[in-house]
C-alpha cells in the first residue's frame, strides 16, 4: 500500500478562543494480525497505534488505538484556539514510523 498520507481539515482563520472541530484522516490498512493469507499464514499486525495533537508544542489531545480501529482511520475532535499558532498532528505506526501534519492557524 502506498505511504500513509495524513489529511487534516480545519479552519485556517478563527476568532481568539473559538472552539473548532478538527477532522483527520490517514490512509492506512490497519492490518489487524487476525487475518490469514491464501496459504493460511497469519498476516502480521501493522496498525497505527497512537495519535497526538499539539498546539505550539504543548500536547492537547492524545489517542491510543487497538486493531479494532477501522482501516483509513478517521478521527474528529475539538480544540480551542487561544492564539495564533501551529497545530502539529502525529500518527505513530507499529513499525515506529511517524506520520506528521502541520496546520497554521491565524486569528482574524
Amino acid at each position: 500500500m502506498a505511504n500513509p498520507t495524513p489529511r487534516v481539515r480545519m479552519p485556517a482563520q478563527v476568532k481568539a478562543g473559538q472552539v473548532i472541530e478538527v477532522k483527520t484522516l490517514i490512509s492506512h490498512e490497519m492490518e489487524t494480525g487476525q487475518r490469514k493469507d491464501a496459504e493460511g499464514k497469519t498476516i502480521p499486525r501493522k496498525i497505527i497505534k497512537s495519535f497526538s495533537a499539539k498546539f505550539n508544542g504543548k500536547e492537547i489531545f492524545r489517542s491510543e488505538w487497538h486493531p479494532a480501529v477501522s482501516a483509513n482511520p478517521y478521527l474528529g475532535f475539538f480544540v480551542k484556539v487561544p492564539e495564533a499558532g501551529t497545530f502539529e498532528f502525529a500518527w505513530v505506526d507499529d513499525d515506529g514510523a511517524v506520520y506528521k501534519s502541520e496546520q497554521k492557524v491565524t486569528i482574524g
Binding site: P67, A68, P73
Partner: protein
C-alpha cells in the same frame, strides 16, 4: 482485500440464517472477547474502583450493516476546566477478538471531551465506554450494536 475473511464463504453464512446455525458455521475456533474480558481490561486500568453509569453520550448505530466501519461518536459531560475535566475515555467491545478499541486522553486545553471515529466489529455486541475524570471518579455507558456483516475479526 478488506472483505477477504478467512471464514466460510459469504454464501454459506447467508444460508445459515438462524443464530444457532450461525454459531456452527463460525465454529469453536472463533475466539472473541466477552463481557468478562472487557471487565478484565477495565480492572487492569482501574482495579476495584467504583463506576457510575451516566455522563457519557454514545452515539452509535443500532444496526451496523458493515462491521468494518461502524461510526462512533461520544461526548462526556464536563466543564473541561483546569480543575474539573475528563482525563481519559476508553472504548471496549465485548464481542471482538480483543476487547480494547481505542483510548482518548484529554487535557484542560481540550474544550470538549468528545471525539468521533470508526471501528471494526466482528459481530453483534455491546460497546462499553469508561470515562475517567480528573478527580478520579469513573463513569460508564454501554450500548448494543447489531452487526449484519462482521468486521473480519477486527
Amino acid at each position: 482485500m478488506e472483505q477477504d475473511c478467512q471464514r466460510p464463504s459469504r454464501r454459506s453464512v447467508l444460508i445459515a440464517s438462524s443464530a444457532a446455525a450461525m454459531a456452527l458455521v463460525l465454529g469453536p475456533g472463533f475466539a472473541s472477547a466477552t463481557g468478562a474480558l472487557v471487565e478484565a481490561e477495565i480492572n487492569k486500568l482501574y482495579a476495584g474502583k467504583k463506576m457510575v453509569e451516566g455522563k457519557i453520550k454514545l452515539d452509535l448505530p443500532t444496526i451496523a450493516e458493515n462491521g468494518l466501519v461502524v461510526p462512533l461518536n461520544f461526548e462526556v459531560e464536563s466543564p473541561m476546566s483546569d480543575k474539573d475535566y475528563v482525563k481519559a475515555v476508553h472504548v471496549f467491545a465485548d464481542g471482538n477478538p480483543n476487547a480494547g478499541v481505542a483510548s482518548f486522553y484529554f487535557t484542560p486545553l481540550s474544550p470538549k471531551a468528545a471525539a468521533q471515529f470508526r471501528m471494526r466489529l466482528a459481530q453483534t455486541q455491546n460497546i462499553v465506554a469508561v470515562a475517567e475524570m480528573s478527580d478520579g471518579s469513573l463513569f460508564t455507558a454501554k450500548k448494543e450494536v447489531k452487526v449484519t456483516i462482521g468486521g473480519c475479526g477486527g
